[in-house]
Protein backbone atom coordinates (compact mmCIF):
# COMPACT_ATOMS: atom_id res chain seq x y z
CA UNK A 1 0.00 0.00 0.00
CA UNK A 2 1.40 3.41 -0.93
CA UNK A 3 1.91 6.16 1.64
CA UNK A 4 -0.80 8.27 0.01
CA UNK A 5 -3.21 5.37 0.11
CA UNK A 6 -2.51 4.69 3.79
CA UNK A 7 -3.02 8.35 4.69
CA UNK A 8 -6.24 8.67 2.66
CA UNK A 9 -7.70 5.47 4.12
CA UNK A 10 -6.72 6.49 7.64
CA UNK A 11 -8.48 9.81 7.30
CA UNK A 12 -11.59 8.14 5.86
CA UNK A 13 -11.63 5.57 8.70
CA UNK A 14 -11.33 8.35 11.25
CA UNK A 15 -14.09 10.47 9.75
CA UNK A 16 -16.37 7.44 9.48
CA UNK A 17 -15.53 6.22 12.98
CA UNK A 18 -14.08 2.90 11.83
CA UNK A 19 -11.83 2.11 14.77
CA UNK A 20 -10.54 -1.32 13.67
CA UNK A 21 -9.55 0.00 10.24
CA UNK A 22 -7.92 3.13 11.71
CA UNK A 23 -5.85 1.07 14.16
CA UNK A 24 -4.85 -1.47 11.51
CA UNK A 25 -3.68 1.38 9.25
CA UNK A 26 -1.73 2.97 12.12
CA UNK A 27 0.09 -0.36 12.55
CA UNK A 28 0.76 -0.41 8.80
CA UNK A 29 2.14 3.15 9.01
CA UNK A 30 4.59 2.14 11.74
CA UNK A 31 5.52 -1.04 9.84
CA UNK A 32 6.32 1.01 6.74
CA UNK A 33 8.31 3.45 8.92
CA UNK A 34 6.34 6.48 7.76
CA UNK A 35 7.10 9.84 9.37
CA UNK A 36 4.60 9.57 12.21
CA UNK A 37 4.48 13.27 12.97
CA UNK A 38 3.58 13.76 9.31
CA UNK A 39 0.83 11.14 9.72
CA UNK A 40 -0.55 13.16 12.62
CA UNK A 41 -0.34 16.43 10.65
CA UNK A 42 -1.76 15.06 7.41
CA UNK A 43 -4.37 12.68 8.79
CA UNK A 44 -5.48 13.63 12.25
CA UNK A 45 -5.46 17.39 11.99
CA UNK A 46 -7.55 17.58 8.76
CA UNK A 47 -9.57 14.51 9.80
CA UNK A 48 -10.71 15.90 13.12
CA UNK A 49 -11.33 19.23 11.35
CA UNK A 50 -13.59 17.47 8.84
CA UNK A 51 -15.50 15.80 11.69
CA UNK A 52 -15.89 19.21 13.34
CA UNK A 53 -17.21 20.69 10.07
CA UNK A 54 -19.77 17.89 9.74
CA UNK A 55 -20.86 18.63 13.33
CA UNK A 56 -21.18 22.34 12.51
CA UNK A 57 -23.30 21.51 9.46
CA UNK A 58 -25.60 19.36 11.61
CA UNK A 59 -24.68 16.18 9.74
CA UNK A 60 -22.74 14.72 12.65
CA UNK A 61 -23.95 14.50 16.23
CA UNK A 62 -22.27 13.69 19.53
CA UNK A 63 -21.97 9.89 18.93
CA UNK A 64 -20.17 10.40 15.59
CA UNK A 65 -17.88 12.97 17.19
CA UNK A 66 -16.98 10.62 20.02
CA UNK A 67 -16.48 7.65 17.71
CA UNK A 68 -13.95 9.68 15.72
CA UNK A 69 -12.24 10.73 18.94
CA UNK A 70 -12.06 7.05 19.92
CA UNK A 71 -10.37 6.35 16.58
CA UNK A 72 -7.76 9.02 17.27
CA UNK A 73 -7.16 7.74 20.79
CA UNK A 74 -6.93 4.14 19.57
CA UNK A 75 -4.49 4.93 16.77
CA UNK A 76 -2.43 7.23 18.99
CA UNK A 77 -1.94 4.31 21.38
CA UNK A 78 -0.30 2.57 18.39
CA UNK A 79 1.70 5.58 17.19
CA UNK A 80 2.77 7.15 20.49
CA UNK A 81 5.19 4.41 21.62
CA UNK A 82 6.86 4.51 18.19
CA UNK A 83 7.12 8.30 18.31
CA UNK A 84 8.69 8.06 21.77
CA UNK A 85 11.11 5.36 20.59
CA UNK A 86 12.31 7.60 17.78
CA UNK A 87 12.83 10.41 20.31
CA UNK A 88 10.75 12.81 18.22
CA UNK A 89 8.34 14.74 20.36
CA UNK A 90 4.76 14.76 19.15
CA UNK A 91 3.40 18.29 18.82
CA UNK A 92 1.00 19.22 21.59
CA UNK A 93 -1.43 22.13 21.55
CA UNK A 94 -1.14 22.43 25.31
CA UNK A 95 -1.65 20.57 28.53
CA UNK A 96 -4.94 20.20 30.42
CA UNK A 97 -5.54 18.78 33.88
CA UNK A 98 -9.11 17.54 34.24
CA UNK A 99 -11.17 16.15 37.11
CA UNK A 100 -14.63 15.75 38.60
CA UNK A 101 -14.75 17.65 41.88
CA UNK A 102 -14.76 16.16 45.38
CA UNK A 103 -18.15 14.75 46.35
CA UNK A 104 -19.23 14.15 42.76
CA UNK A 105 -18.73 10.94 40.84
CA UNK A 106 -20.46 11.92 37.58
CA UNK A 107 -17.61 11.29 35.18
CA UNK A 108 -19.02 10.46 31.76
CA UNK A 109 -19.12 14.11 30.66
CA UNK A 110 -15.62 14.69 32.01
CA UNK A 111 -14.35 11.60 30.17
CA UNK A 112 -15.94 12.74 26.91
CA UNK A 113 -14.29 16.16 27.20
CA UNK A 114 -10.94 14.48 27.99
CA UNK A 115 -11.31 12.28 24.91
CA UNK A 116 -12.17 15.20 22.66
CA UNK A 117 -9.22 17.24 23.96
CA UNK A 118 -6.83 14.33 23.41
CA UNK A 119 -8.22 13.77 19.92
CA UNK A 120 -7.60 17.44 19.14
CA UNK A 121 -3.94 17.30 20.06
CA UNK A 122 -3.94 18.33 23.71
CA UNK A 123 -2.03 16.46 26.37
CA UNK A 124 -4.55 15.47 29.03
CA UNK A 125 -3.85 14.61 32.66
CA UNK A 126 -7.08 12.98 33.84
CA UNK A 127 -7.31 12.86 37.64
CA UNK A 128 -10.62 10.99 37.67
CA UNK A 129 -13.63 11.73 39.85
CA UNK A 130 -14.16 12.75 43.48
CA UNK A 131 -10.77 14.50 43.63
CA UNK A 132 -9.79 16.72 46.57
CA UNK A 133 -9.31 20.41 45.76
CA UNK A 134 -5.85 20.63 47.34
CA UNK A 135 -4.62 17.56 45.48
CA UNK A 136 -5.96 18.93 42.20
CA UNK A 137 -4.27 22.32 42.50
CA UNK A 138 -1.01 20.71 43.60
CA UNK A 139 -0.97 18.42 40.55
CA UNK A 140 -2.03 21.23 38.17
CA UNK A 141 0.91 23.31 39.43
CA UNK A 142 3.37 20.42 39.27
CA UNK A 143 2.26 19.62 35.72
CA UNK A 144 2.69 23.26 34.72
CA UNK A 145 -0.66 22.99 32.96
CA UNK A 146 -1.98 25.47 30.40
CA UNK A 147 -5.55 25.04 31.52
CA UNK A 148 -7.66 23.07 33.94
CA UNK A 149 -11.11 21.55 33.54
CA UNK A 150 -13.49 20.90 36.42
CA UNK A 151 -16.69 18.95 36.15
CA UNK A 152 -19.59 19.03 38.65
CA UNK A 153 -23.21 18.10 38.17
CA UNK A 154 -24.77 18.87 41.51
CA UNK A 155 -25.64 22.23 43.05
CA UNK A 156 -23.87 21.01 46.18
CA UNK A 157 -20.62 20.15 44.39
CA UNK A 158 -20.38 22.99 41.87
CA UNK A 159 -19.32 25.24 44.76
CA UNK A 160 -15.92 23.52 44.52
CA UNK A 161 -15.50 25.11 41.07
CA UNK A 162 -16.07 28.55 42.57
CA UNK A 163 -13.45 27.82 45.22
CA UNK A 164 -10.88 26.77 42.59
CA UNK A 165 -11.54 29.95 40.60
CA UNK A 166 -11.00 32.05 43.75
CA UNK A 167 -7.74 30.27 44.63
CA UNK A 168 -6.39 30.44 41.08
CA UNK A 169 -7.37 34.08 40.64
CA UNK A 170 -5.32 34.89 43.74
CA UNK A 171 -2.37 32.70 42.76
CA UNK A 172 -2.19 33.98 39.17
CA UNK A 173 -2.57 37.59 40.23
CA UNK A 174 0.35 37.18 42.66
CA UNK A 175 2.42 35.55 39.91
CA UNK A 176 1.43 38.15 37.32
CA UNK A 177 -0.03 35.47 35.04
CA UNK A 178 -3.17 35.94 32.96
CA UNK A 179 -6.13 33.93 34.24
CA UNK A 180 -9.30 33.33 32.30
CA UNK A 181 -12.25 31.08 33.06
CA UNK A 182 -15.48 30.02 31.42
CA UNK A 183 -18.50 27.94 32.45
CA UNK A 184 -20.13 25.44 30.07
CA UNK A 185 -23.43 23.72 30.73
Amino acid sequence: MSTQEILARMEKAMVEGNKEEAEALAKEATKQRLDLNEVIDKVYVPGIQKVGDLWEKGEYFLPELITSAECVKGTMSVLQPEIEKSLISAKSKGKAVIRTVKGDIHDIGKNLVASMLAANGFQVVDLGADVKLEEFIEIAEAENTDFICLSALLTTTKLAQKKVIEILRKKTSEAGVKFWWEVHR
Partner: protein, 201 residues
Protein backbone atom coordinates in the same frame (compact mmCIF):
# COMPACT_ATOMS: atom_id res chain seq x y z
CA UNK B 1 -48.81 9.15 60.89
CA UNK B 2 -46.01 7.15 59.26
CA UNK B 3 -47.18 4.46 56.89
CA UNK B 4 -45.57 1.08 56.12
CA UNK B 5 -42.59 0.94 53.81
CA UNK B 6 -43.18 -1.10 50.66
CA UNK B 7 -41.06 -2.32 47.77
CA UNK B 8 -41.90 -2.80 44.08
CA UNK B 9 -39.65 -4.99 41.97
CA UNK B 10 -41.69 -6.33 39.07
CA UNK B 11 -41.02 -3.57 36.55
CA UNK B 12 -41.11 -4.13 32.82
CA UNK B 13 -38.87 -1.46 31.35
CA UNK B 14 -39.58 -0.33 27.80
CA UNK B 15 -37.62 2.26 25.88
CA UNK B 16 -38.67 5.31 23.95
CA UNK B 17 -36.31 5.29 20.95
CA UNK B 18 -36.68 9.03 20.36
CA UNK B 19 -35.66 9.85 23.91
CA UNK B 20 -32.63 7.58 23.71
CA UNK B 21 -31.48 9.35 20.55
CA UNK B 22 -32.02 12.75 22.19
CA UNK B 23 -30.07 11.67 25.27
CA UNK B 24 -27.06 10.54 23.26
CA UNK B 25 -26.91 13.88 21.46
CA UNK B 26 -29.20 13.75 18.41
CA UNK B 27 -30.81 17.11 19.06
CA UNK B 28 -32.80 16.77 15.87
CA UNK B 29 -33.70 13.41 14.42
CA UNK B 30 -31.37 12.51 11.56
CA UNK B 31 -32.89 10.80 8.47
CA UNK B 32 -31.19 7.61 9.52
CA UNK B 33 -28.78 6.51 12.19
CA UNK B 34 -25.66 5.49 10.31
CA UNK B 35 -23.19 2.74 11.06
CA UNK B 36 -21.35 2.13 13.30
CA UNK B 37 -23.69 3.99 15.72
CA UNK B 38 -26.77 1.97 14.68
CA UNK B 39 -25.10 -1.35 15.52
CA UNK B 40 -23.63 0.02 18.75
CA UNK B 41 -27.11 1.02 19.99
CA UNK B 42 -28.52 -2.43 19.13
CA UNK B 43 -25.60 -4.22 20.81
CA UNK B 44 -25.78 -2.18 24.01
CA UNK B 45 -29.55 -2.74 24.22
CA UNK B 46 -29.00 -6.48 24.11
CA UNK B 47 -26.92 -6.28 27.29
CA UNK B 48 -29.73 -4.74 29.31
CA UNK B 49 -31.43 -7.96 30.46
CA UNK B 50 -28.37 -8.71 32.58
CA UNK B 51 -27.66 -5.14 33.63
CA UNK B 52 -31.03 -3.81 34.80
CA UNK B 53 -32.31 -4.66 38.28
CA UNK B 54 -35.13 -2.18 38.74
CA UNK B 55 -36.69 -1.65 42.16
CA UNK B 56 -38.44 1.07 44.09
CA UNK B 57 -39.28 1.65 47.72
CA UNK B 58 -41.96 3.97 49.05
CA UNK B 59 -44.00 5.06 52.00
CA UNK B 60 -47.07 7.24 52.42
CA UNK B 61 -47.11 9.52 55.46
CA UNK B 62 -49.14 12.35 56.91
CA UNK B 63 -47.96 15.81 55.87
CA UNK B 64 -47.90 16.67 59.58
CA UNK B 65 -44.99 14.28 60.22
CA UNK B 66 -42.88 15.58 57.31
CA UNK B 67 -40.45 18.50 57.61
CA UNK B 68 -43.42 20.66 56.50
CA UNK B 69 -41.69 22.34 53.60
CA UNK B 70 -43.66 25.55 52.85
CA UNK B 71 -43.91 24.93 49.10
CA UNK B 72 -45.96 21.81 49.78
CA UNK B 73 -48.20 23.18 52.53
CA UNK B 74 -51.84 22.14 52.71
CA UNK B 75 -51.02 18.60 51.58
CA UNK B 76 -52.91 15.93 53.45
CA UNK B 77 -50.45 13.12 52.85
CA UNK B 78 -47.12 12.69 51.13
CA UNK B 79 -45.85 9.70 49.17
CA UNK B 80 -42.06 9.40 49.20
CA UNK B 81 -40.30 7.12 46.80
CA UNK B 82 -36.77 6.09 45.73
CA UNK B 83 -36.28 4.11 42.51
CA UNK B 84 -33.19 2.54 41.00
CA UNK B 85 -31.99 0.23 38.26
CA UNK B 86 -29.17 -1.12 40.42
CA UNK B 87 -25.37 -0.74 40.14
CA UNK B 88 -24.55 -3.26 37.36
CA UNK B 89 -25.16 -0.91 34.42
CA UNK B 90 -22.85 1.72 35.88
CA UNK B 91 -20.15 -0.87 36.47
CA UNK B 92 -20.39 -1.84 32.79
CA UNK B 93 -20.14 1.86 31.76
CA UNK B 94 -16.97 2.15 33.82
CA UNK B 95 -15.47 -0.90 32.12
CA UNK B 96 -16.34 0.51 28.69
CA UNK B 97 -14.74 3.85 29.46
CA UNK B 98 -11.58 2.13 30.64
CA UNK B 99 -11.44 0.33 27.28
CA UNK B 100 -11.83 3.61 25.31
CA UNK B 101 -15.34 2.54 24.26
CA UNK B 102 -16.76 5.99 24.88
CA UNK B 103 -19.61 5.81 22.37
CA UNK B 104 -20.84 2.55 23.85
CA UNK B 105 -20.52 4.10 27.33
CA UNK B 106 -22.57 7.12 26.22
CA UNK B 107 -25.28 4.89 24.72
CA UNK B 108 -25.44 2.66 27.80
CA UNK B 109 -25.56 5.71 30.04
CA UNK B 110 -28.55 7.03 28.06
CA UNK B 111 -30.29 3.66 28.23
CA UNK B 112 -29.69 3.62 31.99
CA UNK B 113 -31.08 7.13 32.45
CA UNK B 114 -34.16 6.23 30.44
CA UNK B 115 -34.62 2.98 32.37
CA UNK B 116 -34.38 4.80 35.74
CA UNK B 117 -36.89 7.37 34.50
CA UNK B 118 -39.24 4.60 33.34
CA UNK B 119 -39.09 2.97 36.81
CA UNK B 120 -39.90 6.38 38.32
CA UNK B 121 -42.84 6.87 35.92
CA UNK B 122 -44.29 3.46 36.74
CA UNK B 123 -43.82 3.96 40.51
CA UNK B 124 -45.39 7.41 40.21
CA UNK B 125 -48.48 5.94 38.50
CA UNK B 126 -48.88 3.34 41.26
CA UNK B 127 -48.66 6.04 43.95
CA UNK B 128 -51.06 8.38 42.14
CA UNK B 129 -53.55 5.53 41.97
CA UNK B 130 -53.17 4.98 45.73
CA UNK B 131 -54.00 8.66 46.31
CA UNK B 132 -57.18 8.33 44.27
CA UNK B 133 -58.21 5.23 46.23
CA UNK B 134 -57.87 7.39 49.35
CA UNK B 135 -60.16 9.97 47.68
CA UNK B 136 -57.29 12.44 47.54
CA UNK B 137 -55.81 14.40 44.62
CA UNK B 138 -52.21 13.49 43.71
CA UNK B 139 -49.82 16.26 42.70
CA UNK B 140 -47.16 15.95 40.03
CA UNK B 141 -43.97 14.34 41.29
CA UNK B 142 -41.25 16.55 42.71
CA UNK B 143 -37.58 15.60 42.99
CA UNK B 144 -34.99 17.33 45.17
CA UNK B 145 -32.77 19.64 43.15
CA UNK B 146 -35.50 20.61 40.70
CA UNK B 147 -37.35 23.91 40.91
CA UNK B 148 -37.54 25.41 44.35
CA UNK B 149 -37.06 22.12 46.17
CA UNK B 150 -33.41 22.11 47.21
CA UNK B 151 -31.15 19.10 46.51
CA UNK B 152 -30.42 18.92 50.27
CA UNK B 153 -34.01 17.75 50.77
CA UNK B 154 -32.68 14.36 49.67
CA UNK B 155 -31.74 13.99 53.34
CA UNK B 156 -35.43 14.29 54.29
CA UNK B 157 -36.32 11.49 51.85
CA UNK B 158 -33.52 9.22 53.03
CA UNK B 159 -34.37 9.84 56.68
CA UNK B 160 -37.86 8.49 56.11
CA UNK B 161 -37.09 5.66 53.70
CA UNK B 162 -34.66 2.72 54.20
CA UNK B 163 -33.44 3.09 50.60
CA UNK B 164 -30.47 0.85 51.42
CA UNK B 165 -32.99 -2.02 51.24
CA UNK B 166 -32.98 -1.55 47.44
CA UNK B 167 -29.25 -0.74 47.40
CA UNK B 168 -29.41 3.06 47.22
CA UNK B 169 -27.38 5.33 49.48
CA UNK B 170 -26.92 9.06 49.74
CA UNK B 171 -23.51 10.72 49.72
CA UNK B 172 -22.56 13.73 51.80
CA UNK B 173 -23.13 15.94 48.76
CA UNK B 174 -26.67 14.54 48.42
CA UNK B 175 -25.92 12.40 45.41
CA UNK B 176 -27.58 9.03 45.08
CA UNK B 177 -25.44 5.95 44.52
CA UNK B 178 -26.10 4.15 42.17
CA UNK B 179 -26.37 7.29 40.04
CA UNK B 180 -29.16 5.80 37.96
CA UNK B 181 -31.65 6.33 40.78
CA UNK B 182 -34.58 8.73 41.13
CA UNK B 183 -36.12 10.05 44.31
CA UNK B 184 -39.37 11.96 44.48
CA UNK B 185 -42.42 12.93 46.47
CA UNK B 186 -46.07 13.24 45.51
CA UNK B 187 -48.34 15.37 47.66
CA UNK B 188 -51.90 14.18 48.20
CA UNK B 189 -54.49 16.97 48.59
CA UNK B 190 -58.09 16.98 49.68
CA UNK B 191 -59.06 19.24 46.82
CA UNK B 192 -57.96 19.77 43.26
CA UNK B 193 -55.23 22.42 42.87
CA UNK B 194 -52.90 23.75 40.21
CA UNK B 195 -50.25 21.17 41.06
CA UNK B 196 -52.63 18.20 41.10
CA UNK B 197 -53.05 16.12 38.01
CA UNK B 198 -55.98 15.16 35.84
CA UNK B 199 -57.59 11.75 36.14
CA UNK B 200 -55.63 8.94 34.53
CA UNK B 201 -52.29 10.76 34.57
Amino acid sequence: MSGPVKKIENFKVEFDEKRILTLIGYKKRPKEIKEPIKSLIAEEKKKLDNLLHPASIYTIIDYAVTNKHPIFKDAEKVAICVCTIGPELEQEIKKLMEKNEMTRALILDALGSEAAEEVAIQSDRILAEKARKMNLWPSKRFSPGYGKWDIREQRFIFRLLPAADIGVRLTESCMMVPRKSVSFRINFYKEQRLSTRKKGT
